[in-house]
Symmetry: C2
Subunit: 353 residues, 2 copies
């Protein structure tokens, strides 16, 4: 009984981008935690280590020697999940046993020559260089492949096996599940409402403000209304932009700036180099370059695993895997309650220059 | 080029139950792993610990004292994600900001009074008692709630904060995402093919044998053709069964037996108490008890995180979260390659009696 308060009363929220729901049970964050504790990230990463295959001048698994690169550096993944020339599986003999061809390329991109940096500790021109390299790779690989997935796994908790600042780019001959889903929901929204879903969403959030984390003239970052991970965010342009390569020079500069501000906020939240997986979603490429993709809006998802501190993560396990994602605090609580998170003040910790 | 070999050439496989795809890149398992190592489970769990709130006679967070139970023991979760009486959220003022009511109950069920046991170390009558309790809870909570999710998180890696053998039961006033998805795909299969999807699938797998892990007269366990987790399995009845409470006495006995055999195989695989999240899916309940649910087939999903050893897990991170699940070995390789896994020989390790 009583009046509904989102921060106290469980409810479900609809995710229009994935066409599914999340269970929000804010009162649950009060329970004690006696489970697994995560290791904080190592603090003694050497700036240069000839045995680290991502370092300038180091030898990689395939015997190749990296150049003494000074900015970003892109090279083929030595253990690619996608290769350009796999033979086609035989035709299925039964509708419950269906395989299909998968072709592609996997690249690794180092953000900087130094292993002891992370994106938020890099300078704005250095972050801008990363954005330029992302746009170039999407253009280059997107010339033939329908989907180019840029993603960064940061921190051991997110399966990242190398502290050197880097991301991956996997281009595929097919639209992956998430791309397919977002294509369908965004297409339907445009046809029903006459405006791209995430353009309308950004306008709404800019106005409502209760889930805004950072903003500038071109971009905004929100904890989406339907976030599943505790500190999940969505980075959105204010203008209708289909793909990374459609950004103007000044939009790329302001993107570097908002990324830096967001990532510094993340690091300050629990005073730890914040782990996450992040990635870009934009209109599909390859053959789709010729098609009408106006329903798409470029965006980046940030999925960080931490829940309460640098060592306590959210586990998306039993109920989440078998039934539905469940979160322990509301997106509005995330925005409002965390010191140094929802505010505009930026504290830079330990930049190495 | 060349002839297609599933164990060497990447491809995608269709999951008819979730209507999505998995990327299978078997050659990837060869890459070296320098990332996070998991802690093996503790070996010195005391059989009885008065400070463990799941033990007989212990005091729980709410001050209640557990009975000196001797079999299974069901009690309300002290930090429930779902409560029976939450007020309704206000009507949405915008299609991108939609909330809906969520009501329910969360229960915890101890499998056994001893903290140093796990299901595979329990006797057949003890496992059978767990199955009976599951069927009773589904009947009882399913009288009013449309979905009763039984799930077990086993091991610290799966967010389990207490080694005492137990599962959870969350009943909800709504069909969660996964239930909704499986309802749609199974309904469509029945209407298109005239036979329940998972009944047909079990028949096919019983015949093809290449993904069979264990079987008996009433049940079989396969690594599904579309598995995403390396050692994921699907437990299926051979007969058409909608819900746990529809099982006959002898089917419950043979279920205890096949669960024990499966879980011993899991434990033997890497010689460790195998972590997983598992759960039951059956036809929805509550108001759906009056509806035609013949498209549903009862089944249990097992989702174990380990990939290569007791300390190396599969991370479902960047590409998986942003694009599509990806696996590093084929379901057929799992079945064929692991000593003591695909065979019928059962080795019991260290039963405490
Ligand atoms: O209720 P528990 O076991 O403390 O909690 C565990 O299982 C829940 C249901 O899957 C998850 O929401 C939690 O993140 C996890 O830690
Ligand atoms: O390629 P990496 O960084 O070694 O591997 C990591 O990211 C991949 C893409 O998300 C995952 O498939 C792997 O499980 C994870 O360990």
């Amino acid at each position: 009984g009583g009046r509904f308060l989102a921060g106290e009363h469980q409810h479900v929220r609809y995710n229009p981008l994935r066409d599914d729901w999340v269970l929000v049970s804010a009162h649950r964050v009060k329970r004690p935690w006696q489970g697994q504790l995560e290791k904080p990230p190592p603090e003694d990463v050497p700036r240069w280590d000839p045995k680290n295959p991502l370092c300038p001048g180091a030898t990689r698994a395939n015997g190749e020697v990296n150049p003494k690169y000074e900015g970003t550096f892109v090279f083929p993944n030595d253990f690619p999940a996608l290769q350009p020339d796999a033979p086609e599986p035989d035709d299925s003999d039964h509708p419950l046993f269906r395989a299909a061809p998968a072709r592609g390329v996997c690249k690794v991109m180092c953000f900087h020559p130094w292993s002891d940096l992370t994106l938020p500790l890099m300078s704005l021109p250095e972050i801008r260089a990363v954005i330029d390299a992302w746009a170039e790779l999407t253009t280059e690989l997107g010339a033939s492949y329908p989907w180019v997935q840029i993603f960064e796994n940061k921190g051991a908790m997110m399966g990242c096996s190398n502290p050197h600042p880097h991301c991956q780019v996997w281009a595929s001959s097919f639209l992956p599940n998430e791309a397919h889903l977002e294509d369908r929901t965004q297409r339907q929204h445009l046809s029903q409402h006459g405006v791209p879903m995430l353009l309308e969403y950004a306008e709404q959030e800019a106005c409502r403000k209760e889930r805004l984390v950072v903003e500038n003239a071109d971009w905004l970052v929100v904890v989406p209304y339907w976030a599943t991970w505790p500190y999940q965010t969505l980075l959105l342009p204010r203008r209708h932009v289909c793909r990374l390569q459609d950004l103007s020079e000044s939009e790329k500069d302001s993107l570097a700036s908002i990324m830096q501000r967001l990532l510094i906020k993340y690091d300050n939240l629990f005073e730890v180099s914040f782990p996450y997986s992040m990635g870009w979603h934009g209109a599909p490429t390859g053959p789709y370059l010729e098609e009408d993709c106006r329903h798409w809006q470029l965006h980046a998802h940030y999925y960080p695993p931490l829940l309460r501190s640098a060592t306590i993560r959210k586990f998306m396990v039993g109920y989440e895997m078998l039934a539905q994602a469940q979160r322990d605090l509301t997106p509005e609580q995330v925005r409002a309650a965390q010191r140094g998170w929802g505010t505009q003040g930026v504290v830079c910790q330990g930049c190495p220059w």
